[in-house]
Chain length 352, copies 2
C-alpha cells in the first residue's frame, strides 16, 4: 500500500511499527490573500486555515471558527485524514511549529514551538522575509532537537504554499515550471502565473540564495530546509507533503551546492498522497530527481474509492490532494497496521 | 468517545498515543464486613476482592479463589474491563500498592509496593487508622516516584469504599449527602446510612483532619491524597475512579485549605465510567465542583450496548458501575485507538 517514488522501500519498511512525533509547521503568507489563488480554506478567512487545522488535529474541535475549514467547492481539509489516523493509531507526540501565524491556535497542553516569526508578505510585492534569521533559528532547533520517539513526521499547513513553492524553485534557478502541484483540480493558472511572474521580476541575477528567499518564498519552506540541515540525519525524518516539501529539499540542495561539503541523507525522506503522486498537472518525481543527493520518497496508495461521500469523492477527482501532513499520516497509519476501510470509515465520521 | 465532566478536553487529548503505568491501590476495611453493605465480591469472601482483582488484572487468573469475584446478582468485577484493555493495548507497567490487604496476591514479577499498613477497622466503631502515618508514607512515595512512562493511571479496589468515602466527605464538612455512588443499583440505604451515621457520631467538632480520617476513612482515600500531594504535578496523573477518587480530592482540598499555599493541578485529572457519570443516585460533577482548585475530569462513553450477555447488561442497568480503574482503563484504551466493539468482544471472552 506504500509505493516508491524515488529510492527504495527499505527506509519505509524499517519504520514499520515504530512510534513517531507528528510535527506540524504552520504559517501564513499574504500571498494567500490574492483572490482566487488558493482553495485551502474559507474565502475571506483563508488565513485561519493553519490555526483551524492544528486545533482540529489536536482536539477534534475547530475553536477559532464555527465550522471546519472547507474549500469553496466543499472539499474538506486534509486534516480530517491526519486526525483520523491519530484516532486510530495515535502519534506518540504532536508538536506545533508556529512559523508566523496570524491567529494563535486555542490549545492547552500541546507543545507549541514559537520562533518569534511574523507572517510573510505577498510574493507579488516582495515577501519581506528575513530568510537568514529563520534559517538560523531552524538550524539551531534541528541541532538541539531531541525526542524519545523513533522518527519524525513533518507536515505543513500554509495556504497558497504551492504558489510560493513554485516561485521559490523557479527563482532558485530550477527548471520546473509545470512540476508544481496546486490544491485546485483546475488550476487557476492566470492568477497563479501572474503572481509567480511578478514575484520573479523582483529577483536580480546577482541575488544570493537568502536574498532570493526573502522575496519569493514563505517561512515554512525556509524553516524546513534549516531544520533538515540542523537535524543532520540524526533522527529519521519523513517530510509529509507534496511539492512544497519537495521545494524545501530544493532549497537544501541549493545551499549544499553553494556551501559545498558532504551531507548524509539516509534518514531523510518524503511521503505524499496518491493524489499528488498521480497528479497530471504536476510532477513531484521530476522535482525530486533534480536533487543531487539520494532521497527515499513514497506515496500511499490510498483514495476514497470505498466512500460514497460527495465531499470525499472530490479528493479522488483531484481537488485538495495533500496538506496537514496527510500523506505522512497515511504512511504512519499503514505502517502501524491500519487499512483503507478503517481509515475511510473514521474520516467519514467527521462529516455530516 | 471521551467526554468532559469538568475542565476541558486538552489534557485528555495530549495523552493520546502516550504510554502509561497502571497503578492499583488495594486495601481492606472491615466496614465491608457489615452484612449487605457492598456487592463488590462474593458474600463471606468480600475481603478477597482486591486480592483477586489484582491477580486477574496481572495474570488473567484468580489464584486465591476458584472463581472470579462476582456480586450476588452475578455482576462480574470491573477488573474484566481493566484486564481486557491490558490485553488489547497493554499498559506499559502495572504497579500494585498494598495499602492493607488481608490476603496478599499470589504474584511473581509484578511490582508490588508494600507500605506496612494494616487493613482498617469498620467505620461504625471507629476505623482505627493512623492517617498521619499513611499520609506521610504516601507523600514520600509520591515525592520519590519516578517512571519512564508518560503518565500514571491510578485505580483502586476497596470493597465498601463508597461508604467510607461518603462518611469521609461528610465528616470533613462537605455538604454532599446524596452525591456519592454505590456498587448497587438500588442502594441499601438503611444499612449504608446507619453505618455512616454511626461513623459520624464518632467525630468531635474540634477534631483536626487527620483525627477525623483516623475514624471514618479508609487507607486508600488517605494514601491517594498523600500521593497526589507528593507527586506535586510532576507527572500527569489520571485518578481512575468515581466518587471514591473524588473523595481523595476532597481530602487534598481540605489539607490545602488548612495548610494554605499554592498547589498546581494542571497534570491532575479524574476519569470514570459512563455508569458513574450518568448515575442518578450520585453526582460526581457536584463533588468535583466543590474543589477550590481546577480539575480536568472525564468519563468514557462506553457501555455494553453491543453485548447481549446478561452479566454485562447489569452494568448498563446500574450495577457495579466502576472499580479497579475501569474508567481510566477505558480512557487509556480509547486514547490508543481501541473501539467499543473490540473492548466488548474482549470482555465477553472472559465470561462463560
Amino acid at each position: 500500500m506504500i509505493k516508491n517514488i524515488t529510492g527504495n522501500i527499505d527506509f519505509c519498511e524499517h519504520l514499520r511499527g515504530k512510534n513517531a512525533t507528528f510535527m506540524l509547521a504552520l504559517s501564513n503568507t499574504n500571498t494567500a490573500k490574492i483572490e482566487g489563488i488558493t482553495q485551502a480554506g474559507i474565502p475571506g478567512l483563508i488565513h485561519l486555515t493553519p490555526t483551524l487545522d492544528s486545533e482540529f488535529l489536536c482536539t477534534g474541535e475547530v475553536r477559532s471558527l464555527d465550522n471546519i475549514a472547507e474549500t469553496p467547492k466543499g472539499v474538506p481539509t486534509p486534516a480530517l485524514i491526519t486526525r483520523a489516523i491519530h484516532l486510530l493509531h495515535p502519534y506518540n507526540n504532536i508538536g506545533l511549529l508556529n512559523l508566523g501565524l496570524e491567529v494563535t491556535p486555542q490549545l492547552q497542553y500541546f507543545t507549541t514551538y514559537n520562533f518569534d516569526i511574523n507572517p510573510s508578505g505577498s510574493i507579488d510585492t516582495g515577501a519581506s522575509i528575513d530568510a537568514q534569521t529563520i534559517f538560523q533559528k531552524a538550524l539551531e532547533f534541528g541541532q538541539n532537537y531531541e525526542t524519545s520517539n523513533e522518527y519524525i513526521i513533518l507536515g505543513e499547513s500554509v495556504p497558497s504554499g504551492t504558489t510560493t513553492a513554485t516561485a521559490t524553485a523557479l527563482a532558485l534557478g530550477y527548471d520546473c515550471k509545470n512540476m508544481f502541484s496546486s490544491s485546485f483540480k483546475n488550476v487557476p493558472n492566470s492568477i497563479r502565473e501572474t503572481t509567480i511572474n511578478k514575484a520573479l521580476e523582483n529577483i536580480n541575477k546577482e541575488d544570493d540564495i537568502f536574498t532570493i528567499l526573502n522575496q519569493v518564498s514563505d517561512n515554512m519552506l525556509i524553516f524546513t530546509a534549516g531544520f533538515i540541515l540542523g537535524l543532520n540525519n540524526k533522527i529519521p525524518l519523513v517530510l509529509a507533503g507534496g511539492t512544497q516539501m519537495a521545494c524545501s529539499l530544493l532549497i537544501v540542495n541549493k545551499i549544499l551546492e553553494e556551501m559545498g561539503g558532504e551531507f548524509e541523507t539516509s534518514n531523510l525522506s518524503l511521503t505524499t498522497t496518491k493524489w499528488v503522486a498521480n497528479d497530471t498537472n504536476s510532477d513531484i518525481k521530476a522535482i525530486l530527481e533534480m536533487l543531487s543527493f539520494p532521497i527515499n520518497s513514497y506515496y500511499v496508495d490510498f483514495d476514497f474509492a470505498l466512500s460514497t461521500h460527495p465531499a470525499l469523492k472530490l479528493y479522488d477527482e483531484g481537488e485538495a490532494k495533500e496538506g496537514v501532513g496527510a500523506g505522512g499520516a497515511l504512511f504512519y497509519g499503514v505502517l502501524n497496521g491500519l487499512n483503507k476501510q478503517q481509515i475511510t470509515t473514521k474520516v467519514e465520521e467527521f462529516l455530516p
